[in-house]
Symmetry: C2
Subunit: 204 residues, 2 copies
């Protein structure tokens, strides 16, 4: 479409589109979201928005991909640093984000997208990609920890499954129940009864 | 309303109403659900349905309450039995239900109701009640286990939070991702890296 120069989205434009999508989504929720409402949050030329995306679902899949990239950037996990430190950073980023209130708003709308996933293949595929990518971050950290002797001989894949599932559950409890301390309580329990138990001393 | 004898719902009628609501919900999803579609699944007099419930949301809150009661009945946890056995029974019931496919269908629609909870106070309150009741089942089991020496001296509340959050997360992954083994993988990891670690031997 359009014989313009924007055959690929440049980064500032992509950032602006994703920010507008995020703002409109948290403001109106999935059911109330329309392309027009996203355009309303977009300062640049509306044609730029429509040039790259046809539907709100396309924009939301792009947003899920974008959020995964942002997580990677924000983590900037130094692979040389202590595995326990990296694990803590990842847990805290997933539970609290860079800003607690914004993170809660995002998790609330993310749950709406998750709830659509059984009926929406594009959402399901992107969520599966994101889930696998985050799972792999945990696997790498735990495997490094085992190799370096920070953790005892555990199965990194199983530990990753347990930790990530617990975080997911706590986030769902946080945004759906009157339980504002859900992520804090889960974090405490997770370190006391799971992460601390990974220390090699427990093998003695 | 109605000068009839049904001032309270008798149990067979309540069962039939809840089954019709459940069937209609799993068939049409929350967004597609209407009172008429619930009535379509109800074999008895439609007036009976409308006599007791005005809106689909009222029926859904009643359904959440009813499912909690069913969980209690199905568990029929013998308080004299081994805490580890009771814990296993509860974990398996929450992960797999009495029938795996029906449980997946229910968890799928339950997620839709959860996603409404931030905007729907009645859903949020009932989900908070259900969550607290199940949390308390875990707390009681772990506390009994500590008292009887089946488990080491752990904080039952924290362990309950961790176990239940992990189950919740696995159920969400199960119904939203292309991950049909999610509950089985979580169950294995949970017993290996959390429940088995509760044994008092680990204190030695």
């Amino acid at each position: 479409m359009g014989d313009t120069e924007e055959t690929t989205t440049d980064q500032p434009t992509r950032d602006a589109i994703m920010e507008a999508t995020f703002t409109a989504l948290t403001k109106h929720g999935y059911a109330g979201l329309t392309m027009q409402k996203i355009a309303d949050e977009f300062d640049k030329s509306k044609s730029l928005l429509h040039y790259h995306y046809d539907t709100k679902d396309e924009l939301l899949v792009a947003l899920l991909d974008y959020m995964l990239g942002q997580l990677d950037e924000r983590l900037a996990l130094d692979e040389e640093s202590d595995p326990l430190e990296r694990l803590t950073t990842l847990v805290d980023m997933l539970l609290f984000g860079p800003d607690r209130e914004a993170h809660k708003a995002f998790q609330t709308t993310l749950l709406e997208l998750r709830a659509q996933a059984p009926y929406n293949e594009a959402f399901r595929e992107q969520l599966t990609t994101n889930d696998a990518a985050i799972h792999d971050l945990f696997v790498d950290i735990v495997a490094d920890g085992v190799e370096q002797g920070t953790f005892r001989e555990v199965d990194p894949d199983a530990v990753a499954t347990l930790v990530f599932s617990a975080l997911q559950g706590a986030r769902v409890r946080w945004v759906t129940l009157d339980e504002d301390d859900a992520p804090d309580e889960l974090r405490d329990a997770l370190f006391t009864y799971l992460v601390d138990e990974l220390e090699p001393e427990d093998d003695a």
